[in-house]
Amino acid sequence: MSSHYEAPIREPLVLGEKSYHDITMDIVKPIEGKANKNWYIAFTIALIAFLWGVGCILYTIGTGIGVWGLNKNIGWAWDITNFVWWVGIGHAGTLISAVLLLFRQKWRMAINRSAEAMTIFAVFQAGLFPLIHMGRPWNGYWVLPIPNQFGSLWVNFNSPLLWDVFAISTYLSVSLVFWWTGLLPDFAMIRDRAVKPFQKKIYALLSFGWSGRAKDWQRFEEVSLVLAGLATPLVLSVHTIVSMDFATSINPGWHSTIFPPYFVAGAIFSGFAMVQTLLGIMRKVSNLESYITRLHVEYMNIVIMVTGGIVAVAYASEFFIAWYTGSPYENYTYMSIGAATGPYGWAFWSLILFNIAIPQLLWIQKVRRSFIMSFIISIAINIGMWFERFDIIAIVLSKGHLPSTWTRFEPTFVDVGVFVGTIGFFFVLFLLYARTFPVIAQAEVKTIMKSSGEHYKQLRDGKNEH
């Protein structure tokens, strides 16, 4: 009936014709309301997994690293695999909040809060592994360049592990500050609504005295921009440095110059996959269907396709170069015929299947825009990326330079327990977050609401329900 044709330039980012108040109500609902049964079930499972992990970690620290499946020739396996995996997962947060902010991608607003939360929680898990994988974790603080009375002892600035310490701690602190900055107006909103004095006090503390003055907003915008500028290099640096743990070493398969870009792409790939997984669940559980739309899912899938493509090309070039060298030492790197046909063939083919084959389905638009398919593919990528790190670490170490040192690795229940424990810990944090934090940056989302003309358009179209 419309006499006026409106060109569909873009799909709307928020569905359901929400008013500002609707958004507020949607976001505060889980915080002000009571948790449902599903939340308690999920939380209990996560807590049990977490406690089991704590038990396994204490057992490891109390008895020795020997309770893991490592041996003299494979000094790292699940520990560093999990470390890199979690760091990788932690990558999407900064990318979404910083890089997309600089590029003014408004669609990030629906997902950035949770992506950043995921980042921070994932980095917690990641940070755990370098500490507990040490033979003497109680001396772990020796890796910090703090003045000490041990004589002239100082850290070794040549060691990529030390760079890791700096990279991860910088990343964690910048991410945390960035996240918190974004949270301030939202916390203030909850504070203003809170009726219970205790709750009010807590949120008042968390919101750092946000008053909502124009000056507050101006500073907020400025700080966000500055932090985005600071955080953007971190997107590249963290996984670059993590990759240098391998790239600067001399093991065939690790000693590879393409590792930094390849790892960064892989990290974004896995980070976005994890965001897909988490938001796929949250969207349903926290009734965020209006905010996390097919468009968001599609955009994220496109990022996954691009980074997944980079990763696939990296695999191919690793495979080719290993073969092309003609060096017998390169016959068994994680991307080689030796690996594909060797005892770790199953891990090799899992990687190919989950990381290369399955994500190709995203070329189909229907799949790309399907919530359930995206969810399934994101799970596959999470698994695939875990295998990537496992392959790089375990396969390479299992076939060192000297054939006499070739061996294999089998995880023990403690290896598994620690990994499961970190997943549990992650979800404990995430579930608590979902109940206490504004899971969507509502203040920002409100800025992209079409407020001015929408009401009159509806009047015109005779849909006036007021």
Binding site: G66, H133, V143, N158, D245, I250, G338, L402
Partner: protein, 1016 residues
């Protein structure tokens, strides 16, 4: 003039009116206030202001303080000498020359003692002593907590005077009754003990002495006795040999007491311009076979025929024999033997007198100068016939008294049941041993003897050398030497030491000084050449042919490198020493060829944790069954033969962990054994240290070349320098470097040099390293899952199916898809008869070490003297260094290996801990450790030279491994000293460094292995 200065004791004194001062002046011995004065007063007490809260505070504080004090670590008291023994300076090692002669291993050794404790055994090189792994490990057996700690009569503790009184009384009684008194001993080779037994025979009637070797060389002794009239073993001057043909003799192992490796290596020294040709015919893959230039696989039965065929080929005679698959090789061997003339020698290990006679006949025909019948060996003296008749007599109850010494027949006799039955029929049974072993648990008098490190003794290992054993520590337990007891029983009051000194002076040494002999550990004595009778080869061959039997599986029993005849089965170092060939430890197993294994469906699948499994077999020999023998497939095992090592399956006087393997003595009937095998299908878990048996096409790791190529070929071809591309041109790898070099111009710069030609793979360096560096033992399970702690290991590689012929071409030409097959071919050892090469690997002490850059806390760093150093107490245990070590020599302390009941080995035991080297830290859990190039030894050398105010001599520096190496394969020195051997060797055309293309600039240099491949 009087001083008017006033000295005051307290400020109070300055107050002239102080009542306290006044009262103190009055009352010099002031009594304190009686407690009653304030506690007895109820009112004061009640008015005191300690509230409930204060009380709780005090309780809390004191409890906290008390528990904090309790947190202090356990106090271990160390007590200084009140009167310091003159020769002991704490921190300075003393060395004593001594000799080990336990009936199986004989060697001139030096014993290193620290603060009165022997902690290390090294060969006495002046006495031409060589030590094998067991001799090196014997120092730990001294501290074995399961040694018998005092005499026992019928299982009850007794005193020595009681024991000697009762035994003397009984002996006199038995002697009067005319019943037999028998000594059953292992090989003694001790002139003074022989003399004592002779004196004993004078006092008592009807005494006989039966010598019994658990692993017998009776056949060779019989043969030698028949020809030369003396019960001894011929010696071999292998250093001069041009051609050595061995038929079934593992002469680099324990054959006839061993000790030939040094001479063998001397005879294969390209620098000295000589290199013998060694052809080995054998069924099992022995250490000797692994070192041979050519190895021919023959069944035991075929070996007998091959020996006769060799005789025929050399002499042109036609003794009765049979054809064997090795005849072509025998013909070639004969040609080479004849060509070598009197520098040729034939050695056989066939346990048959006739075979030994034929071997002697061949050597005589060749007028071999290598066969040495002058300086004969006394390392084996057992007589199988006498032992057999003794057992018969025992069983028949015809023996009055049996005294065993240094032997464990209940464990080692195939007919142990008969022996045991006989023991119960014997009036007096006395056993001397260090352990309450299988035999000592059966005799009436179980008498503990000291270890050789606590005892006096004399040994004649070879005819021309008289060696002495001297105590290096006060006996740890209530032990007495066998000889002391003999003196007591013969009514003499002198101690064995006095007897020995007098005996040596009067009977052996002539004019030579006792003190000097004791100091040196040996003295040379005159020998006379033995004249041989003629040998009846025809009859010998006939008899040999008649005796040779064949069957489904021919079993060859052999002594394992680690445990030998089992005397040190409770020694965790030896249990954890991997077999040089199979690299399995903590086990014995049935060795079987791939073809037979396929037939009987035996496999050795690799598990996901990198461990190897196998199946149990039940083997039956002569109706005797051994159950649960795990089968390990041995490439190069002759088809239709099986091998099983002695030394395992002991049940008495050893810790639970050491009760591994099966007792092969149960089927040791002598001669060729015919066995049948049943696969039970049950699973066995092996502890094997090497999973990949071939070098997988990476031939630059272990370089090998033929003698001809070495002499005439171009070194660049057989020892190519690694090259890298720089500006599109190939340049030597060392010309490109990311690193700044350390300044090496001053001080020492240590280098290890390892000659792969002379390394026999014997493993004595591995044990020496354990002893010197307090390397922990981790047990079977941990070895199985790849967590052994060896700082020094000896890699073993078989040639692969892919190495042969055109396979190298195949790799290059294969398409990607076929490449997988080529890989498999390269990974699979040649099944029929692969060659073997050994490569000792320890920390390579890279000048540009990959481990050093990656440690976040700089716990591993570079030393001024070339070592890559490890600061244990700085290590946080990230294991990054181990991952980045291309040689994989770093070892991580996965658990706490000391004072931990989970690892109940020598470090969990107050006696076992006495072996620890005080110069080396015992590492804690969670830290990385590795070869230090024995920095404690090099520093000690430097300090000693400094104290003595002199320059360090050429080749003065040693490490544990270099001092233990019998063949001189491992050499250590300072390349800043141009006179050190290693300085020259570093530039040798054979020299290469492991994985040099990485650019690590190692301080360990290998010398290309050379084999004499000349067929003509």
């Amino acid at each position: 003039m009087a001083s008017n200065k006033k000295y005051w004791k307290s400020v109070e004194e300055l107050n002239e009116n102080s009542s306290i001062v006044a009262s103190l002046e009055q009352n010099e011995f002031n009594e304190g206030q009686a407690p009653e004065s304030f506690l007895g007063d109820k009112e004061t007490l009640e008015s005191s202001s300690t509230t409930r809260r204060d009380f709780l505070k005090y309780v809390g504080f004191t409890t906290a303080a008390a528990s904090l004090v309790a947190c202090e670590g356990p106090v271990v008291k160390s007590i200084p000498y009140v009167v310091k023994p003159e020769e002991i300076t704490p921190g300075i090692a003393n060395y004593y020359a001594s000799t080990i002669a336990d009936g199986f291993d004989f060697a001139n050794v030096l014993v290193k003692t620290k603060e009165g404790r022997p902690i290390f055994i090294l060969p006495n090189k002046e006495a031409k002593g060589t030590t094998n792994a067991r001799v090196n490990a014997s120092v730990l057996s001294l501290y074995d907590s399961l040694r018998l700690q005092g005499p026992k009569i019928k299982g009850n503790t007794a005193s020595w005077s009681d024991v000697n009184g009762k035994i003397t009384a009984q002996l006199e009684e038995i002697s009067k009754s005319g019943e037999k008194i028998v000594f059953l001993t292992g090989t003694l080779a001790s002139p003074s003990t022989d003399a004592l037994i002779a004196e004993f025979s004078k006092k008592y009637n009807n005494v006989s002495h039966v010598v019994y070797d658990a692993i017998s060389e009776s056949a060779a002794l019989d043969a030698f006795q028949e020809v030369y009239g003396e019960r001894a073993l011929p010696n071999y001057k292998l250093e001069d040999a041009k051609t050595i043909v061995s038929i079934g003799a593992d002469f680099l192992g324990d054959w006839q007491g061993g000790g030939f490796e040094a001479a063998y290596a001397q005879g294969r020294d390209v620098k000295a311009g000589k290199f013998s040709r060694h052809i080995q015919f054998e069924a099992n893959y022995s250490l000797t076979g692994a070192n041979a230039d050519k190895r021919v696989v023959l069944k035991p039965s075929e070996q007998s025929y091959a020996l006769i065929n060799l005789y025929n080929a050399i002499t042109g005679e036609n003794l009765p024999s049979k054809k064997t698959p090795g005849d072509a090789a025998i013909k070639q061997a004969a040609t080479q033997l004849i060509k070598a003339g009197n520098k040729a020698v034939v050695i056989t290990g066939i346990q048959d007198k006739n075979a030994q006679l034929i071997a002697l006949a061949i050597n005589n025909f060749l007028s071999s100068e290598i066969l040495d019948v002058t300086n004969v060996k006394y390392t084996r003296a057992g007589n199988d016939t006498e032992v057999a008749s003794l057992v018969t007599e025992l069983k028949a109850g015809k023996v009055g008294a049996l005294i065993t010494y240094n032997t464990n027949p209940v464990y080692t006799l195939a007919n142990a049941a008969d022996f045991k039955a006989g023991l119960s029929k014997t009036k007096l049974t006395v056993g001397f041993s260090t352990k309450e072993d299988e035999t000592l648990s059966e005799v009436q008098f179980a008498l503990p003897i000291p270890s050789y490190l606590e005892a006096w003794g004399d040994v004649k290992i070879t005819a021309n050398q008289y060696s002495l054993t001297q105590p290096t520590i006060k006996p740890l337990f209530d032990t007495k030497q066998f000889q002391d007891c003999l003196l007591a029983w013969t009514g003499q009051t002198v101690s064995y030491y006095d007897y020995l000194a007098a005996f040596a002076k009067s009977e052996i040494l002539g004019g030579a000084s006792w003190n000097k002999t004791l100091h040196d550990g040996f003295a040379k004595v005159d020998v006379t050449s033995l004249n041989g009778n003629s040998i009846d080869a025809v009859n010998a061959a006939k008899a040999l042919k008649a005796e040779t039997k064949t069957g489904e599986f021919e079993l060859t029993l052999f002594s394992s490198t680690a445990l030998g005849d089992s005397q040190q089965a409770n020694n965790p170092w030896l249990q954890e020493l991997p077999d040089p060939l199979t690299r399995a430890s903590w086990d014995n197993y049935l060795l079987m060829s791939q073809a037979d294994a396929d037939k009987l469906e035996f496999t050795n699948p690799v598990q996901d944790n990198g461990a190897i499994n196998g199946q149990y077999a039940t083997i039956t020999v002569n109706g005797v069954k051994i159950e649960n023998v795990p089968v390990l497939i041995q490439p190069g095992q002759a088809q239709g033969t099986i091998g099983l090592s002695y030394g395992y399956g002991k049940t008495k006087a050893l810790k639970e962990e050491m009760k591994v393997g099966v007792n092969a003595y149960a089927v040791a009937f002598g001669g060729t054994q015919i066995a049948s095998i049943v696969n039970t299908g049950e699973e066995h878990l092996f502890a094997c240290e090497q999973l990949q048996h071939t070098i997988a096409g990476r031939h630059d790791i272990l370089r090998e070349t033929g003698l001809e190529d070495y002499i005439h070929g171009n070194a660049k071809e057989w020892n190519p320098r690694p090259e890298v591309s720089l500006k599109h041109e190939s340049v030597d790898v060392t010309s490109v470097d990311l690193w700044e070099d350390h300044d090496r111009s001053i001080g020492h710069h240590f280098n290890l040099n390892i000659d792969l030609t002379s390394c026999t793979g014997c493993g004595s360096c591995v044990i020496a390293c354990h002893a010197e560096n307090n390397v922990p033992v981790v047990g079977k399970h941990e070895v199985r899952v790849g967590r052994d702690m060896h700082w020094l290991r000896i890699d073993r590689y078989y040639t692969s199916e892919g190495d042969a012929g055109s396979a190298n071409k195949k790799i290059n030409q294969a398409s990607s898809i076929d490449q997988a097959d080529v890989y498999v071919a390269l990974e699979t050892p040649e099944a029929i008869n692969p060659q073997v090469a050994f490569q000792p690997i320890m920390c390579q002490h890279c000048n540009h070490a990959p481990c050093e850059t990656v440690c976040p806390v700089a716990a591993t760093s570079h030393g001024r003297q070339g070592q890559n150093q490890m600061a244990y107490n700085r290590c946080v245990g990230t294991r990054y260094c181990a991952n980045n070590c291309p040689y994989r020599v770093r070892r991580f302390n996965w658990f706490k290996y000391n004072n931990n009941d989970e690892f109940d080995f020598n470090m969990n035991d107050d006696f076992g801990k006495m072996v620890l080297n005080p110069d080396v830290t015992v590492r804690s859990r969670g830290v990385m450790e590795k070869c230090s190039m024995c920095i404690q030894m090099t520093q000690a050398t430097i300090l000693q030279a400094k104290n003595e105010g002199r320059v360090i001599e050429a080749n003065e520096f040693t490490t544990a491994c270099s001092s233990a190496c019998a063949t001189g394969s491992i050499k250590f020195g300072d390349i800043n000293n141009s006179e050190d051997e290693v300085t020259v060797l570093r530039e040798d055309k054979r020299a290469y460094r492991l994985l040099e293309f990485i650019g690590t600039d190692n301080n360990v240099v290998y010398q290309t292995k050379i084999r004499n491949t000349n067929e003509a």
